[in-house]
Symmetry: C2
DNA sequence: CGAAGTTACGGATGCCGTAATGATG
DNA sequence: CATCATTACGGCATCCGTAACTTCG
């Protein structure tokens, strides 16, 4: 049995049982994988894959079990490499999986400070929807995941609250809504609404608020991207509901910004790591930079706790800070 | 990185950092190991072993961490092989680590029934002192460990109670002690005592009983082996205290056997498996054969529990049976 | 000087890639 | 006929063993 064979097995499973795709992802020929899998199956004396002629259509039950063990073994092996790279300071890299909102409005400031502090660490930001972000973390493809939506209920993932935020309603300057003393749901729904796509940036909180009053708002347009929302608000297509973080006082002078905290409540964004993966030293540094209350000692404590109950107890000791923009110029750098 | 390199690393650590010993245990040349370790260290870019000139005298701290990960990886790999062998019914083997008392007096009957039921499974009984038995199980060298003493407090080990037993005092026929109505500690210590070596076969229970009365018995001889004890009792050197299981009514007709249950209480023997190791199907069968109350479903339940509290709660549902000899002829077969 | 580890070299094995061949829809 | 898996073959890397060398107690 070779580690390569385990890697090939995993790659095939991760590419819809398509050897060609798997071979491309590993930069080897199809034949190499095909042959090694055959050798592996022969050595074990059993079939790992269900075949229909020459086509692979799935895994056998033993195959599934063996895949699980193989993934664990590869994870341990990967940990050894990460550990060595961390200790020797070679090939230092930090991979972050996150959603658009974080990448565009929250991370720039943090990332700017991080690269100044760790100039030798190469940074990789993988953007995706919340489900993809969670998957990237679970697969061990990234060191850190940052998102507002549930990152994962898997016990192998540790998600920690890093900041709270609320929403703002944005309208063109001088819009009727700007004249009101207090914004209400009743007033809001008199206009077409532009906001996030479902599943993104706490959209469900907005839906909940409307449902509570049994109101069916006229949502004319949705986007994953606050910039897109702003653009259509500027065109007068409707009023926008976006996350606080996405409001840029300097660039958005042509828009009136009304806090909608009272209407939609607050959301909490989380930063998550994979518990059983080796955690590089500067991952802890990044976390502390991002959320100062998540000091090394706190994260280490959290890593030892397994049940969600004692975890939330741990974090309830801290007041999770609200998001706040730090210096307009800084935030657009990098 | 190669699996071999991890195996070599582990072997060196398990042989007091002696490459020559490690190479012998793996049936390869010293140079093979020496070179692979060097290549591995070079690939990682750090030293795994502390050296003094050419002598290896220990591991570095990173080395320790990497060894841990390597052992986990190898365990997963080993599981894959075990699983395949189990499913394909090739190279079926069951390794049991146990102490002398179990191997000599308890196991023969069980083993006899097991080999009848699984004629294709080759059986290996590794005998050792309780500490060695626990180590063999923790290293994954054996599938099952059976002993009375604490097998391990490690959470990776699941120890289950299988039967209870008490002690008997043995004396030559017609000895003064046989004439008594009830045996007491006070009567007992009037004679020299022959019993087990410390750390074996519940010896500590005997010591406890004497200490309770603040008595210093005259223990003239200790052995790991009840047969040895019997021999010296026959020679008239003293009275013997041995485990119930070791009494053979047929062969021991020249000895009078007096129950000492009231004096020394009862002990419970345990059967243990390594939780995260792959458990072959016939391991479950063996366990049930050995302790009928430990049915497959019970063991599976126990495997899911992590804390000792809920475990003891689970087992408190069953009345752990007392040991009883089953057919004198049977027990000496095999 | 003996025990233990490292270095040197030759042989065998094994892994991969290219290219041809065989299935499948 | 296009896609995908398997088979065939040659080149290159690598892993091992024997044996000589080095270092420490």
């Amino acid at each position: 049995m070779k580690l390569q064979q385990l890697r090939y097995l995993r790659a095939i499973a991760r590419h819809q049982f398509n050897i060609s795709k798997a071979s491309q992802s590993l930069c080897v020929s199809q034949s190499a994988i095909s042959k090694q899998i055959q050798l592996f199956e022969h050595e074990l004396g059993l079939e790992l894959f269900k075949r229909k002629g020459k086509q692979i259509i799935g895994m056998t039950t033993v195959g599934e079990t063996i895949l699980l063990k193989a993934e664990q073994a590869l994870e341990n092996v990967n940990d050894i490499q990460l550990l060595a790279e961390d200790k020797t300071h070679r090939r230092q890299s930090l991979s972050i999986a996150t959603t658009h909102t974080q990448a565009r409005y929250v991370l720039p400031n943090i990332v700017g400070r991080f690269v100044k502090q760790f100039p030798d660490v190469s940074l990789h930001i993988h953007q995706g929807n919340p489900i993809q972000v969670a998957a990237m973390l679970e697969h061990g493809d990234v060191d850190i995941a940052i998102a507002t939506e549930a990152l994962s209920d898997a016990s192998a993932i540790l998600a920690m609250p890093c900041y709270q935020w609320s929403r703002s309603v944005i309208v063109p300057n001088g819009h009727a809504l700007s004249q009101l003393n207090t914004l209400s749901i009743a007033e809001l729904i008199r206009y077409p609404i532009i906001t996030y796509v479902q599943g993104f940036t706490g959209r469900y909180k907005i839906d909940e608020a409307f449902q509570q009053y049994d109101i069916n708002p006229d949502i004319v347009l949705t986007a994953v991207d606050a910039d897109v929302i702003k653009t259509y608000v500027r065109l007068g297509l409707g009023v926008g509901i976006i996350a606080d973080m996405a409001v840029n006082p300097e660039q958005d002078k042509d828009l009136d910004v009304l806090s909608a905290k009272a209407l939609f409540g607050v959301s909490t964004s989380h930063i998550a790591i994979k518990k059983d993966k080796y955690i590089k030293s500067y991952v802890f540094q990044f976390i502390e930079l991002f959320a100062p209350h998540l000091r090394l000692s706190v994260v280490e404590q959290a890593l030892l706790l397994s049940d969600s109950h004692s975890l939330s107890k741990l974090f309830s000791q801290f007041s999770i800070p609200f998001f706040q923009r730090e210096g307009g110029e800084e935030s657009n750098k990098v």
